[in-house]
């Protein structure tokens, strides 16, 4: 039917329909006389319209659609064909994934598919986790490990393809009493065999529990779900001590089921293979005794039982297997079997193996792989409990040696090291030593130690402690001095109280071997004299960071080069931190230091390592540091910066930075980045507040103050910003960075002439700083002048990294939006970091009317240009 015809049909149709029913037939016949086709067409439509059409399509299908959507959306996978897999049924679901039974139509066999759950579909972290799980399991080849066939990505679904194991979970089998004590040795051997294989590949399962162990009808064990598995084998590349990392806690899932967790896992300590042996012990106990070992009324009691309960009753306490299980269940991992292999040897020595095999009552068609979804509340419980358990009980009555402030705390400042030029290593120690003492003393209850940054300006000055006590308004100061006596480097420590009188002093010979013990003595003495606080040995050791003096030395060097970083020194810092980690793999500060270095690598040593690689390493290190010491503000900050600058995960960044600030409100770097995040997200007042906090903590640190001036100039009247810059420029006349910011502000506040002159001067010194000049020239109509800068900078960029956004700014100024966006795209791909200021950087203004700008804003997930500025 052609459209002219349908029009005719339609016209007649409506004409007829408007008539009373009795007149229709006659009218239709009249209109269609000689056109039988038209008559038939309209007539059939009219009768269709008349007969029962009243309700047809009256209820929009959209309500049906929404009902479908709102029901278990995973239902929609059933019946779906994904590549060669026809999804047949859902087998189970949990926090991270959903497992389906499917048919591999090419091979005609059943398989199990593990998908990410709906809400994690767009979560890249979860995706990587799934890939890691597949990779971990794919490394393994063992009859007792469920084999992984592959990982597929089809139509936006990513899933692991694995063997479909017909049988039942150990949990169901225990419940159904289809297995019992007589099977325990056989099962233990199989599971231990699976663990031996995993461990041999450097994989800790971390979630051994009856639900993750399938038993087939023939009694064969298949260990499943390496979703929480963690690879611990050092990579064989140059950085032998780097561990790949896959912590789950940061995501809000509790790794593993609490009931089978090892004590060290509950305490969130670094795990090794022996953690799996503990979990296996708990599983074997359950098979043996028919009840869950750590079953308690509440999670809290369960945790407490795992951590402390040692009295496990056995029906046959003297049996060999009971003793083996008991050994697996030792709280102290050093007292467990050293490895799965050792456990296997013990198991093999048992001769009384029942060979009657397995007679499963039930053959469950579907195994029920249900994953634990740990609610946040649960995690909180655990965290709180652990915190509570760790809380020192020896809170002391406070000494009267010094007067506390209103809150009852004593304040102390540790001064920069005064040093004789001839003293060995004084460069490394000058700042590192007081910083470490501050860190170690900060954990003393009732003692408030000023951050190093607040005393940094005393560096290199001859100072009178008595005067500083007053200047800094503290109760006491600890002064340190390095000097040479009889050819030996000595450290003099001196604790002075507010009235100027000396409380304690000491002098010791100092070298790398003794440095840790000297620090120990200083910490003990300060604590003793100020608060009479006796730190427990454990806490004391923990606050030390490392007990390996060589590792400490490497760490000090790393930090020294980090602090004085430039293109050459930053990679050196990484080398030193790496050495420190190699010497002490549990050295949290070293991981944090290396994370901090990697974070800045792309900014400072462009091109040394691709941004992506550096950030991946930074992330791994920061997570490792947090795993080792969850209370380290530095590591949380590093992670926050990665989320902020590289991953553009604003919420995640905020959480980490807030966490860092909560852990150490004196850590200026956290405030610094948080102020940036708040600014980008359109919270000017809070941003200013944070930048101010950072400035107050580090009043002598140029970048910190610059950050404050910048934000101030955007949030408050421009005069305030100008005054801030003016003062800062005077204090740091050598800094181009400050000049550039100052000039940009002048440019925006109708002092274009001044600004231009400053741009010219800066550019003449360093050609990487030409973007603003070219921009300003172009906007003033001097296109030739702008092009000249552009050409020179492009030429320069052949030898030296210049962030793409610099060119985007120039093109924006020239009105060449196509090229501007091309460079922004480049920046987007490189994720250099500056792109996060897209919506707040005034120089991008000319681009803001272009649809491509919105596209980029949206891809970055940024709020639209904020009218707040």
């Amino acid at each position: 039917m052609r459209s002219s015809k349908i029009q005719e049909v339609e016209t007649v149709f409506h004409e007829v329909l408007e008539l009373p029913p009795e007149e229709r037939e006659g009218y239709l016949a009249q209109v269609c006389s000689g056109n039988a086709a038209l008559y038939a067409e309209v007539s059939s439509l009219i009768s269709a319209a008349d007969s029962g059409v009243s309700e047809f399509m009256d209820e929009p299908a959209v309500s049906l659609g929404l009902t479908i959507i709102s029901q278990n959306s995973e239902q929609s996978l059933v019946g779906k064909s994904l590549a060669a897999y026809l999804v047949i049924a859902r087998l189970g679901r949990g926090g991270m994934g959903e497992v389906y039974l499917a048919e591999d139509t090419r091979l005609g066999r059943k398989v199990a598919l593990k998908f990410l759950s709906q809400e994690l579909l767009h979560d890249n972290w979860a995706k990587r986790q799934l890939v890691k799980e597949a990779q971990a399991a794919a490394m393994l080849d063992h009859p007792n490990i469920c084999p992984v066939y592959g990982i597929e990505e089809v139509e936006g679904h990513i899933f692991i393809v694995m063997q479909y194991v017909e049988g039942q979970t150990l949990q169901d089998a225990i419940r159904a009493q289809s297995i019992g004590p007589e099977d325990v040795v056989n099962l233990a051997r199989q599971i231990a065999g699976a663990l031996e294989e995993a461990h041999a590949h450097g994989i800790i399962h971390r979630d051994i529990k009856p639900r993750n162990i399938m038993v087939t009808s023939t009694g064969q064990v298949k260990v499943l779900d390496f979703g929480l598995a963690k690879t611990v084998t050092p990579k064989l590349d140059k950085e032998a001590s780097e561990f790949s990392n896959s912590r789950i806690t940061s995501k809000g899932f509790l790794p593993g089921t609490i009931a089978y967790m090892s004590p060290e896992q509950l305490r969130d300590e670094r795990l090794d293979f022996r953690s799996d042996l503990f979990s296996l012990g708990a599983v074997l106990y359950e098979i043996m005794e028919g009840r869950r070992l750590f079953a308690r009324e509440s999670e809290a009691e369960m945790i407490s039982a795992i951590l402390t309960d040692t009295k496990h009753t056995y029906k046959k306490p003297n049996s060999k297997i009971a003793q083996i299980i008991q050994k697996c269940l030792e709280k102290n991992r050093d007292e467990r079997f050293r490895s799965a292999s050792e456990l296997l040897i013990s198991l093999k020595s048992i001769t009384e193996v029942s060979n009657n095999g397995f007679m499963f009552v039930r053959r469950s068609a579907f195994w029920n792989a249900v994953y634990l979804f740990a609610a946040v509340a649960l995690i909180l419980t655990v965290v709180l409990l652990i915190k509570w358990a760790r809380k020192p009980t020896d809170l002391t009555s406070v000494a009267a040696a010094v007067t506390p402030d209103n809150s009852g705390a004593y304040s102390l400042a540790v001064l920069p090291v005064k040093s004789d030029k001839t003293a060995k290593n004084s460069d490394y120690l000058k700042r590192g030593l007081p910083e470490d003492l501050i860190r170690r003393l900060s954990v003393t209850p009732g003692l408030k130690v000023r951050p190093y940054t607040s005393v940094a300006n005393y560096e290199g000055q001859a100072v009178d402690p008595a005067k500083i006590v007053k200047e800094l308004n503290v109760n006491a100061v600890l002064a340190l001095e390095l000097f040479v006596k009889d050819g030996r480097t000595m450290l003099r420590s001196n604790l002075t109280k507010a009235d100027g009188s000396e409380i304690w002093s000491d002098e010791e010979a100092m070298d790398w071997q003794s440095i840790l013990s000297i620090q120990d003595r200083i910490v003990q003495n300060v604590n003793h004299h100020l608060t009479q606080y006796q730190m427990s040995d454990e806490k004391f050791a923990a606050a030390r960071g490392t007990s390996n003096s060589e590792a400490y030395k490497q760490f000090m060097l790393g930090r020294y080069y980090w602090r004085n970083r430039d293109k050459e020194k930053l990679p050196l810092a990484i080398d030193y931190f790496t050495k420190a980690i190699a010497l002490d793999p549990l050295y949290a500060q070293a991981y944090a230091g290396r994370a901090d270095s990697y974070v800045l690598l792309n900014l400072i040593s462009f091109g040394k390592v691709p941004t992506e690689e550096a950030m991946a390493k930074a992330r791994a290190d920061a997570r490792e540091a947090i795993a080792l010491d969850p209370n380290m503000a530095e590591a949380h900050t590093s992670l926050g910066v990665i989320y902020l600058r590289y991953e553009w995960r604003w919420d995640a960044a905020e959480l980490e930075l807030q966490k860092a600030i909560q852990l150490n409100p004196d850590y200026a770097t956290a405030h610094y980045w948080y102020s940036n995040l708040l600014f980008i997200m359109g919270h000017p007042e809070q941003s200013l507040e944070e930048s101010q906090k950072a400035r107050d903590l580090e009043p002598f640190n140029a970048p910190t103050v610059l950050n404050y001036c910048r934000i101030l100039s955007r949030v408050r009247p421009v005069e305030q910003g100008l005054a801030c810059f003016e003062k800062l420029e005077k204090e740091h006349p050598e800094s181009d960075h400050i000049k550039y910011g100052y000039a940009l502000l002048k440019y925006r506040s109708n002092q274009q002439r001044d600004a231009m002159a400053m741009f010219e001067r800066i550019y003449a010194k360093d050609k990487t700083w030409g973007a603003a000049l070219a921009y300003a020239r172009a906007r003033a109509g001097n296109l030739e002048g702008a092009k000249k800068v552009l050409t020179e900078m492009l030429e320069l960029s052949r030898h030296q990294y210049i962030p793409p956004q610099e060119f985007a700014i120039i093109y924006a100024g020239m009105g060449d939006t196509d090229n501007a966006f091309a460079w922004l795209e480049k920046e987007y791909i490189e994720r250099f970091g500056g792109l996060i200021y897209l919506t707040v950087e005034p120089l991008f203004q000319p681009l803001r009317s272009d649809p491509r700008y919105y596209s980029m804003v949206n891809r970055l997930n940024l709020p639209a240009l904020n009218t707040a500025y």
Binding site: V53, I68, S70, H683, R859, N861
Partner: protein
């Protein structure tokens, strides 16, 4: 404190409005997942007896997904059009899955009984209606669009008119005709 995770949609909608067809391909899955999420939350938090106010929901989706300040009025129309298309696709996929699952033979034992919003009968009807609608589109594309917007998108006459930029009278006439046409097609199919 952060922007809506789907603010990308606004940009794509603008791009699409500016004639960038590729933006539509990116837009569809995004709106779909947001709609799914919204509907999901909606059902979870509302009283289960509560009847879904469908246009209200699409409207809410629109308000949530689209930054009003950044878009022109046409975007709302575009968005509704897209939502209708998505609904149609979701429904049809579901109906087909439902059908396929039933036909799948003995190896497939689907436990759909727990949650079958769509009866088998309804599933077949939907599939047939969809096919008929495709045929109608060949005859008169606008009428097919009217049906899509009204039936699958839940839009009322005025909203449909806004999306298609025609008068409400035209929409009403199209709707009446299309309904008769489709009813006849479905009847013939039986």
């Amino acid at each position: 404190m952060t922007a809506s995770p789907s603010s990308e949609i606004t940009g794509l909608l603008v791009d699409w409005g500016n004639g960038d067809q590729a933006a539509l391909d990116q837009l569809l899955p995004l709106v779909e997942s947001e709609l799914r999420r919204l509907a999901h939350n909606y059902m979870r938090h509302e009283n289960p007896d509560h009847t879904l106010q469908t246009t209200a929901l699409v409207n809410e989706a629109y308000l949530k997904l689209i930054d009003q300040k950044k878009t022109r009025w046409q975007n709302r129309a575009h968005f509704f059009g897209i939502a209708a298309q998505i609904m149609r696709r979701i429904l049809l996929n579901y109906a087909r899955d439902r059908h396929r699952a039933k036909r799948g033979g003995k190896s497939i034992q689907v436990s759909l009984s727990e949650a079958s919003a769509v009866t088998l009968e309804k599933a077949r009807e939907l599939i047939e209606l969809d096919e008929a609608l495709n045929r109608l589109a060949l005859v008169d594309e606008r009428k097919a669009r009217v049906v899509e917007l009204r039936y699958f998108g839940g839009l009322d006459v005025e909203e449909t008119a806004e999306v298609l930029r025609v008068s409400t009278i035209t929409v009403m006439r199209d709707w009446k005709f299309a309904k008769a046409w489709l009813a006849r097609e479905l009847d013939n199919a039986k």
